[in-house]
């Protein structure tokens, strides 16, 4: 602070003025600290800088002094100030300490000027030059009469700076290295302050003022830093940093402006509390992720194919077969994603197997495969990253039971609630939860009939397992049946859509069924919610996988069929060419003059799979929306309007209004996403459909929840459930990754449709690219990398790494436990001491009893509660002879409170640490008179 100023001013002030200033600086520093940031009165533009610098100066000068003198090492800051000033004033300074007051004014004034000059970067080199010279001369005459360490140091510095400025003639700086480093440090500190000011628990006014000061300080001194050639670079760096920060802020502003639905979610949040809102936040997150997937898929696969690929009708795979052409535009056919839909960019089969398309030579097949993999890669990365971030924010692991009541008291109110009804519910739920805890506390377990409950729980689980198995079997049965149906033509609408209907119905019926069964179990609602989620999850997963296995059966049968068609058509083609060449005696083979619609083609299992997933998704959307419309909206309308003419109160009584089903909705979303991941490879259009779905569902559900639902009677907090959702999503991602990767790696692609037709395996497209497009050595590199000899060690290495990390984390956990135990012990001990009762800790008591016979020891020391001393003293007396022990004891007991209290504290954590070791003579005088040093 003022210290800095004085340093700067040292460079040109008159010698004796300088001494004054330094004295004033000591005072001013103390004063500055004492008064906080109260500005000095004389200069207007300087006063803002003064205060924080004063504070800073007080901090900063300590290390400097330490370096110079090696004195006062063990003293606190305040102690530091006093003696220094005294000594300085009494012994060394020409002017007495009394003169300080009068001198302060003009020193401040001078300082103001000085500060400006030192800070004025562009102030002119001549000025700085002269300053340097002055400093030099001054330093010389100073050096004669002063022998104070500090001054010596200062002088040395000045010499440095002057020599610098004299020798280096082109770019002089008035500051020496040390000062510069200090200033730099200070600027850095200010910058840090600017960056962190929002985290400081200060009043806004103070924050604003401090911010302004810091900014001005930085502006002023930043440019002065750096020297020689580095200076320009430094200035450039500073400028770029500023620009970068500005850009970041603008970008941040832009980004938050781009986050949609903030208001909508807030509205929901204030009505229903954070748990319902967490669903919508999750939905929004999902939407963001799908938008990226959509961009990838459409930007790299669909749009290029549409723009640069062959047009519709040019090749068989892009044409509706002759047999289907009559009905290809029928609504019902299109709704089944057959007809024109089937032969469009929405599905795998439409894509051509040309290696490159268009003028740009876009490698579509490669891009298709990479996008398919990239979709998974991106999703995986995003989910895991979000999970890690959430876990980071999540704070400590809620150690259940330790703070039950305190947590309930201080964290149970949801500050987001802004709706009277929700608030009432919240009050009620908080009251109940308190009552529950009280009851739990009073009689730790109230198992009135544990056998009955156990029986009921087993029964409930049994029932649920049964229904899970039943639903799985039902789906398997339906899929099998649909394969039979596939060979027939006379199908009713129901028979065609049986599979989707059954799956959606199961999803609709089972969760409420589970909920009803769960009533039997009588769990705490939060635990019940978890069970419910787990069960629905199992249901959906079972359904999905049954569906998948059935699909694989179908795919296998299609593969066989395709094989025969492929053979037949190849044979026909060969015959044709043979005839062609024989008849026309012309060996160049032109393809048969056949309309692409008439070509016999294989079943194209990829498209079939894609269609299945699209149909499933669409029917899921329909069912979800209809459920909301009927289950919530119609119910709300009926309850609302029939209530006027009904024999009981509909609103309070039986049907009532619906509650927002968080778990069901979240799981629905998660499974929907799983289907998207699985199906996206075979139906690139699916991602687009999903984006539309999420978008509409955001608006629709927001409306529905606000219009038709009532807040939960027992409002749950969304505690950590965020990561719970993410965990589910990760699991689903993994599970949906498996079948896709399996099909890519093992099944042969169809011979006449899709970007990989004609290849033995889909990933051959990568091999092809490596061979044809990349230089040869990369190909060999890849072959080495694919060598099992390399892969196995790599896997081993990873296993080792996992093992290592695992054990490290275990060790951390152990040490955590250890610390926790220690804290607990310290706490107990403290409590016992407070209560002055016998320590409950038996071991401690025994240990105390085992201490050297205290009764033999001389009279107890004055402070009986200081345990460390108690322990220390008797041992000491033991060691010494009995007679002497008394004296020694007294000495110690007199001396000990002081050093003991001061010993650990007097080492400030910051700048003193690495400083020079305190020499034997450097101990403060204070310690000498009062007995042995503490250590």
């Amino acid at each position: 602070g003022i210290e800095i100023d004085s340093d700067l001013s040292d460079d040109d002030g008159a010698p004796q003025k300088r001494t004054n200033r330094r004295q004033a600086a000591g005072r001013g520093g103390a004063k500055g600290r004492g008064r906080g940031k109260k500005p000095d009165s004389d200069e207007d533009e300087e006063e803002e800088d003064e205060a924080p610098r004063a504070r800073k100066g007080a901090n900063n000068r300590r290390p400097a002094k330490k370096r110079g003198g090696g004195k006062n090492n063990d003293e606190d800051e305040s102690e530091n100030e006093g003696p220094k000033k005294k000594r300085g004033g009494a012994a060394n300074r020409k002017k007495g300490g009394k003169a300080q007051d009068s001198d302060e004014e003009d020193s401040d004034a001078g300082k103001g000027k000085k500060g400006k000059k030192g800070g004025g970067k562009k102030g002119g080199k001549e000025e700085q030059d002269s300053k340097g010279k002055k400093g030099d001369s001054k330093g010389k005459d100073k050096g004669k009469d002063k022998d104070d360490d500090k001054d010596k140091k200062k002088k040395k510095k000045k010499d440095d700076s002057s020599s610098d400025s004299n020798s280096g003639s082109d770019e002089e700086e008035s500051m020496s290295e040390g000062e510069m480093a200090r200033l730099m440090e200070e600027v850095e500190e200010k910058k840090k302050l600017i960056a962190n000011i929002r985290n400081k628990p200060w009043r806004m006014k103070r924050r604003l003022v401090l911010l302004k000061e810091a900014q001005q300080f930085v502006d002023k001194f930043e440019g002065a830093l750096g020297k020689g050639k580095g200076r320009k670079w430094y200035a450039y760096k500073v400028m770029m940093t500023k620009k970068w920060i500005k850009f970041q802020r603008d970008f941040e502003n832009f980004r938050t402006a781009c986050i949609p639905w903030e208001r909508k979610i807030k509205e929901v949040e204030s009505h229903f509390g954070s748990s319902v809102a967490s669903y919508f936040i999750f939905l929004r997150w999902m939407y963001g992720m799908n938008l990226v997937l959509f961009g990838l898929t459409f930007g790299l696969v669909v749009i290029p194919e549409v723009l640069m690929g062959l047009p519709y009708g040019s090749v068989p795979r892009k044409t509706v077969p002759r047999a289907e052409q009559d009905t290809a535009q029928d609504y019902s056919v299109l709704m089944d994603f057959n007809g024109y839909c089937k032969y469009s960019v929405l599905f795998y089969g439409y894509y051509n197997d040309q290696r490159t398309i268009g003028l740009l030579k876009f490698r579509l097949p490669l891009s298709y495969l990479l996008v398919g993999i990239g979709t998974f890669g991106y999703s995986l990365m995003l989910v895991i990253r979000t999970m890690a971030k959430n876990a980071d924010v999540g704070g400590g692991d809620g150690d259940e039971g330790e703070f039950t009541f305190a947590w309930k008291m201080f964290t149970s109110w949801d500050y987001l609630i802004g709706n009277a009804e929700t608030a009432d519910n919240k009050y009620a739920s908080i009251t109940t939860s308190f009552k529950e805890s009280i009851v739990d506390e009073q009689e730790n377990q109230k198992d009135e009939n544990i056998h009955l409950r156990r029986f009921l729980r087993v029964l409930a689980n049994f029932l649920i397992t049964c229904s899970l198995g039943g639903s799985g079997y039902l789906i398997y049965f339906v899929v099998k049946r649909s394969q039979e149906f596939a060979n027939r033509d006379d199908l009713s609408w129901y028979e065609k859509n049986e599979l989707e209907l059954i799956m959606s119905l199961l999803g609709l019926v089972c969760p409420p069924l589970f909920e009803t069964i769960a009533e039997l179990e009588d769990y705490h609602p939060r635990i019940a919610l978890k069970w419910q989620l787990g069960r629905i999850f199992a249901l959906f997963l079972g359904n999905l996988y049954t569906f998948l296995f059935a699909l694989f059966d179908e795919v296998n049968s299609k593969l066989e069929e395709e094989q025969s068609i492929k053979n037949a058509s190849l044979w026909a083609l060969k015959e044709y060419y043979a005839n062609y060449t024989r008849m026309l005696n012309d060996s160049d083979s032109t393809p048969p003059p056949m309309n692409p619609a008439d070509v016999i083609r294989g079943p194209c299992w990829e498209t079939a799979v894609g269609i299945e997933f699209v149909k499933l998704t669409v029917s899921d959307i329909q069912v979800t929306y209809l459920t909301i419309l009927i289950g919530d909206f119609a119910r709300a309308v009926i309850v609302r309007f029939l209530n006027y003419c009904w024999c009981w109160d509909l609103e309070a009584g039986f049907p009532s209004y619906g509650e927002f089903d968080i778990s069901g909705n979240v799981l629905g979303l998660v499974f929907n996403q799983g289907m998207i991941w699985m199906g996206a490879f075979y139906a690139p259009g699916l991602v687009g459909i999903n984006v539309l779905r999420l978008l509409s569902s955001m608006y629709y559900q927001c409306w529905a929840v606000m219009a038709t639902n009532v807040p939960h009677e027992r409002v749950f907090k969304a505690s950590k459930s965020n990561n719970f959702y993410m965990g589910l999503l990760l699991l689903i991602l993994f599970l949906s990754l498996l079948p896709v990767v399996y099909t890519i790696m093992t099944l042969p692609p169809s011979f006449d449709c899709g970007p990989f037709s004609g290849k033995a395996k889909m990933f051959d497209v990568i091999m092809e690219t490596i061979e044809l497009d990349l230089p040869a050595f990369i190909g060999t590199l890849f072959s080495y990398a694919a060598n099992p000899g390399l892969i196995i060690p790599a896997v081993l290495l990873m296993v080792l790494a996992i093992y290592y990390l695992n054990s490290v984390s275990e060790a951390y956990q152990n040490s955590n436990m250890e610390l926790k135990k220690k804290m607990q012990m310290a706490r107990d001990e403290e409590k016992n001491r407070r209560n002055n009762t016998n320590s409950t800790n038996q071991v401690m008591q025994d240990l105390e009893d085992l201490l050297p016979n205290r009764s033999l020891a001389p009279p107890a020391p004055p402070e009986p509660e200081k345990k460390p001393e108690q322990e220390a003293k008797p041992t000491k007396t033991k060691a010494g002879a009995a007679g002497k022990g008394v004296n020694l004891q007294k000495d110690v007991s007199l001396a000990s409170p002081n050093p003991n209290a001061r010993g650990p504290v007097s080492r400030p954590p910051g700048p003193r640490g690495p400083g020079p070791a305190p020499g034997p003579g450097a101990r403060p005088g204070q310690g000498r008179g009062r007995g042995p040093p503490p250590r």
């Binding site: 806004m204 302004k212 954070s274 201080f410 964290t411 009280i438 505690s719």
Partner: protein, 187 residues
Amino acid sequence: MGNKQTIFTDEQLDAYQDCTFFTRKEILRLHGRYHELAPHLVPMDYTNDPDCKLPLALIVNMPELKENPFRNRIVESFSEDGMGNLSFNEFVDMFSVLSEMAPRELKAIYAFKIYDFNVDNYLCKEDLEKTLNRLTKEELTPEEVQLVCEKAIEEADLDGDSKLSYADFENMISRAPDFLSTFHIRI
């Protein structure tokens, strides 16, 4: 875009953005909200830092705070005079601390202030009783309140002075799983 310049200068907005967790747009919206509370008192032009404070009664009627059982305490602890009169700076400060982005440490400090009803920098038993009564709308019997408060103190009190200092509170709250998700207000 036009009114942006008339309410705050760019420097002011930058300063606010440095000092709070808000973006420019949000600060302007906050000003809008603040202005809305008392259109005749709050000027639309903040470029020269007008000295203007709104009384507690106006602020606690914001929909964000209206249902909060601690609304008076929130406003009081953010006001410089302790009476709940908030200048715009303090208003912004309040919502900044309560925003989603604010770190746990900062929130903990202000939560402590909010729950400290008698402003003695300790959460003593009567503070807890008041907290509890507000949370439950005084539905618990006095014995129950007594029990809960004792339990809470016993759980969180590290130094055994049967009141919670900030260190105790911080230690307790830093491990609470729900604190961050519930101690925030979206403006």
